[in-house]
């Protein structure tokens, strides 16, 4: 099935980065429509009816999030765009911002209008330094053409839009850590409640939305909620950007209609193009490093034998026993040669490095998991280490202020759930496991 492109309809148009070309392609129509023909509440309703769900990972309905925003008299409200994309395997927001910077600017104007914000910020990870420039150029062009600033299109609505670069911290993708960071502090997540919708940036009501979610507001307004909701399956409406990487022939960013079968996504030449070097598929992490890893048979079919689809529901089918999550759409593919223990150790090191250190279970637990996985991978493991890891993971999960603890626990717990043999083999064969990988079902394979 050839995907209808909604966000990336004209990402290959030469010059689409510039205002002239973007406008000629129909850019900023949604701002005209919203500001001239719709009230802010109409826009919120439209987004609600579209079924659009947060594209950053949690999948919470965007329109509902907007409707929770407190609106006390005389207090400013803020819209923050989360462009801190740092989830391993995820590189879709970068693609959107690099290719079609005006789409994000346009989405920010519509969303700010809907929420009644006078100042909005795009918090972007500091490493995307060159994209800061691309976006600031786009913002300057939007000002020059009357889409930002005072009294836009004579509607009485005024908006200033700014860029706020971070400085290297995965945790700042968590919304309250992002707010702290934007206030010029360390990225330590806040205890919720109060939720940002009530007390966010500088204690004012705040909405934080992912780049892709904000971009998706543009087609929702242009084509209407019904047209958007007609794409997709059930409660997974519209399209999703999937960033595919790992052992595949065609890594990259793909826009898919929600509901595309995972098998087609992996093997079709339109998308991943199959496994590199004609190898076998071993496992997939479908939604960024935090979501559970699934072995080949469970990523292609659910436990009940149905085709696994790229939707929020289908990927979660079976719970964590046999399912995973759509997450951020960071789709990491592993071939038969990859070592699951090594990969799990690698991810644990990542979470240990990125833990902000505020909550003991996460600060200590991520370090313990890294250490135990390191010794398993390097031939010093003990058989009880496997259950020890499960135990630590279960005590980190759910016991921290923010979801980083869960994100650190899930990859470990799921890897052991589905690949316990491979972990135990590392203990039984400490020498051999240094010479070769376990491969698929223990076949002899050379270390890559």
């Amino acid at each position: 099935m050839a995907t209808r492109k909604i966000l990336l309809a004209n990402d290959h148009t030469p010059g689409i980065q510039t205002y002239e070309v973007y406008r000629r392609q129909g850019g900023y129509r949604s701002v005209e429509k919203a500001l001239k023909n719709m009230s802010p509440d109409d826009v919120v309703e439209e987004v609600k009816r579209s079924g659009l769900r947060g594209r950053g990972g949690a999948g919470f309905p965007t329109g509902m999030k907007w409707s929770f925003l407190a609106k006390p008299e005389g207090v400013p409200r803020y819209l923050l765009c989360n462009a801190d994309e740092s989830e391993p395997g995820t590189f879709k927001d970068r693609y959107l911002m690099e290719r079609i910077p005006h789409l994000l600017v346009e989405g920010m104007i519509c969303a700010s209008y809907a929420l009644g914000c006078r100042n909005s910020y795009i918090y972007i990870r500091g490493e995307y330094k060159w994209i800061v420039k691309i976006l600031e150029r786009a913002i300057a062009e939007a000002y020059a053409n009357g889409w930002l600033g005072e009294n836009i299109l004579g509607s009485g609505f005024s908006l200033d839009l700014y860029l706020a670069p971070g400085a290297g911290a995965y945790i700042c993708g968590e919304e309250t850590a992002l707010i702290e960071s934007l206030e010029g502090k360390r990225g330590n997540p806040r205890i919720k409640p109060p939720f940002p919708a009530l007390k966010g940036l500088w204690d004012c009501p705040t909405v934080v939305n992912n780049v892709e979610s904000i971009c998706a507001v543009v087609p929702v307004i242009n084509d209407g909620a019904e047209a958007y909701a007609a794409v997709g399956v059930g409660k997974s409406t519209g399209t999703k950007l999937i960033s595919a990487c790992g052992n595949i022939n065609r890594p990259g960013v793909y826009e898919i209609e929600l509901g595309l079968p995972v098998e087609e996504f992996i093997y079709s030449d339109e998308y991943c193009g199959g496994i590199k070097n004609d190898k076998q598929l071993k496992a997939v992490v479908p939604g960024g490093s935090s979501v559970p890893i699934l072995p080949a048979h469970l990523i292609l079919k659910t436990a009940s034998g149905e085709d696994r689809l790229l939707t929020y529901e289908s990927l979660a089918d079976g719970g964590f026993q046999s399912g995973s999550m759509l997450g951020s759409g960071g789709f990491i593919v592993y071939d038969e040669d990859q070592c699951i223990v090594r990969n799990t150790w690698n991810f644990s090191r990542f979470y240990h490095h990125e833990s902000c250190g505020q909550c003991s279970p996460c600060r200590e637990g991520t370090g313990w998991m890294e250490k135990v996985l390191h010794r398993l991978e390097h031939g010093h493991g003990r058989m009880q280490d496997v259950d020890l890891l499960v135990d630590i993971a279960s005590k980190v999960e759910g016991n921290t202020i923010c979801p980083l603890g869960d994100a650190a626990a899930w990859p470990v717990a799921s890897a052991i759930r589905h690949f316990r043999d491979e972990f135990e083999w590392h203990v039984r064969e400490p020498q051999l496991s240094q010479q070769r990988n376990y491969g698929l079902a223990g076949q002899t394979l050379a270390i890559a």
Binding site: G89, G184, K185, G246, I332
Partner: protein, 182 residues
Amino acid sequence: MKYNNQDITFSQEMMAEVERIKGQFPEGKQKSALLRVLHLAQEEAGGWLNIPVMNQVAKMLGIQPIEVYEVATFYTMYNLESVGKYVLEVCHTGPCAIEGAEHIIGYLEQKLGIGVGQTTPDGMFSLKTVECMGACGYAPMMQVGEFYHEKLTEEKIDRFIEDCKAGKVSVGTWKMDKMAIN
């Protein structure tokens, strides 16, 4: 302690940029400019932040020095020790590891004659490992200054190092284009 009280003067250009950034936040919320101002300060101070530089930043934003230190020590992009002219930041997280990041790091160590976290004696190159940079589909990769260098191979690295030595590599700047200033 004399060192800690050393006066720091930033360029006029940077001071103008700092004023522009401060203007993006409501009155009294100028601390929000801190992360970006630290990037600018680090760039002017030769790639790293020492105590006098951080103290000066605190003065410019009207906050306490400790508020600057706690931020500078939290975020990985701030260097608290001197670094080389070119800081090679190689990603070694999962997707890059699958595509051979460890080999690339080993190759760089051997080529430059330094380990991770070290700087060449001539002050030209520093080698760092970093966590996921959002380039997983174009692995392995490294960031040098403003730019990403993706799908790295030994040949690409050889060429890159030669280009650096010949002064042909730009590391970019945190100062914004004139046309982007609004």
